[in-house]
Symmetry: C2
Subunit: 230 residues, 2 copies
DNA sequence: TCAAAAGTGTTATGAGTACACCCATGC
DNA sequence: GCATGGGTGTACTCATAACACTTTTGA
């Protein structure tokens, strides 16, 4: 069975909006690459590239991310497909954008493939981006903000063990407002998806209890339709 | 400036999951076409087709819908992009799916283009669908159900003037559960986006007040971050 | 006068929010 | 002993949810 289409075809790319935390867990960063090829050579852009003919879109994102930045994701979901006919000077290029989250421990940026370099950029001092990537980034940020209200997104950004203050800071960064410590703790603990490791972390002051995320219990509650609004 | 890519390219289509109400406003239907061409000739499928090189994705959906079914939408948004390499026997075809809503008054299905026929199907007795369209339809249904909790989706399915009982029935259909009449009315009226037309509709029993949707006021409240959970 | 859908308020419960002080450690 | 962040409980407000009867019309 063979069907042939001879008319011109669009190209298809994937691009990833990947967020991660700074080491001090106090600011949110986005992963950008410096383009090594035309067009927009020397500009900063979202990591991504052309899909292969035999790979799924999700696989293409992970591959491109691995090739260009060596970053592995703790979370990924499809964001939106951008198809404006003029969004790419090379011609008709449709791009499916993904939202990704990475833990700090997994971030070891390397040189590779089409990218001249790859760096975590602070969201408050971004460079001009190639193509329509500013628009894509904005959509990614909106999605992150709306996700955080219903799902324990913060956990995907933190290391395996973390303190409740760490977690609260992540939520405050993403939501862009301060939260009450007592209310926050009561709320997140009431979900029953956080378990103390028994360990503590001491840095200069009173040691803080470390917690870990109980993924099985989370999946169970999700199936029961439980929301996790903070 | 010219960049040429000679490797094989995927095709790109759009498909639409379009919901509408039956005349009696008591059941939710989905718009399907009967395929007139191979592959899956004679099967039922979501309306859609190949995008043109110079048109935006949104425009492509509306065009295909117009060509195949003559249905105009009161609401449309992008749903998800399906890119499994084996989803289409013709080869690599990536499809961006859209969610659409149509008012009953706008529904006048016609013959045209690739479709042998176009019909509103009840959701509880669907035929086997072509390609991965069952999966796409399921994603559309999920999106509709999650949207209904935050946005006055019901209004996009009803005619310009409607009774509160109409509106409640729409919500009950989409949510799949019964709602309390008094609570529902208090809630939807409290948003302040419904205005009585002054008219009533009488059919056999006590006449019901007709309402219309105040779109300007709705946009205003949305900008203020107001949610519309029912 | 009866059948059928339209329309209307009150109460109880639970969630969200605001708020201030003591505790454990390093220096 | 003091500076610093860790850790805890109560009271108020507001939204949700449960619940039953009267009104208006056509037949």
């Amino acid at each position: 069975m063979s069907y042939s289409y001879e008319y011109p075809k669009a190209d298809h790319t994937v691009d990833a909006v990947v967020f991660g935390l700074d080491q001090d867990a106090v600011s949110l960063k986005v992963l950008l690459i410096e383009r090594g090829l035309e067009p927009f050579r020397g500009y900063w852009a979202l990591p991504g590239g052309f899909i292969h003919m035999d790979e799924d879109l999700d696989a293409a994102v992970l591959r491109e991310l691995e090739e260009e930045t060596n970053v592995k994701l703790s979370f990924v979901e499809q964001l939106y497909t951008f198809g404006n006919p003029n969004r790419d000077p090379r011609g008709r290029v449709i791009s499916t954008a993904y939202l990704g989250l990475a833990r700090p421990s997994h971030v070891t940026v390397k040189r590779g493939s089409d990218a001249a370099s790859a760096v975590w950029w602070s969201l408050d001092k971004l460079p001009e981006l190639a193509f329509d990537h500013s628009e894509i980034l904005e959509v990614g940020m909106q999605r992150l903000r709306s996700k955080v209200r219903w799902q324990p997104v913060g956990i995907e950004l933190l290391p395996d063990a973390f303190t409740l203050t760490d977690l609260q800071q992540v939520y405050e960064i993403i939501l862009g407002r301060e939260l009450d410590k007592r209310n926050f703790r009561r709320k997140v603990l009431s979900f029953g998806v956080l378990a103390p490791t028994g360990e503590t972390r001491y840095e200069r002051h009173r040691p803080a209890r470390l917690y870990q995320f109980d993924k099985d219990r989370y999946q169970l509650l999700r199936k029961q339709g439980i929301d996790f609004e903070v």
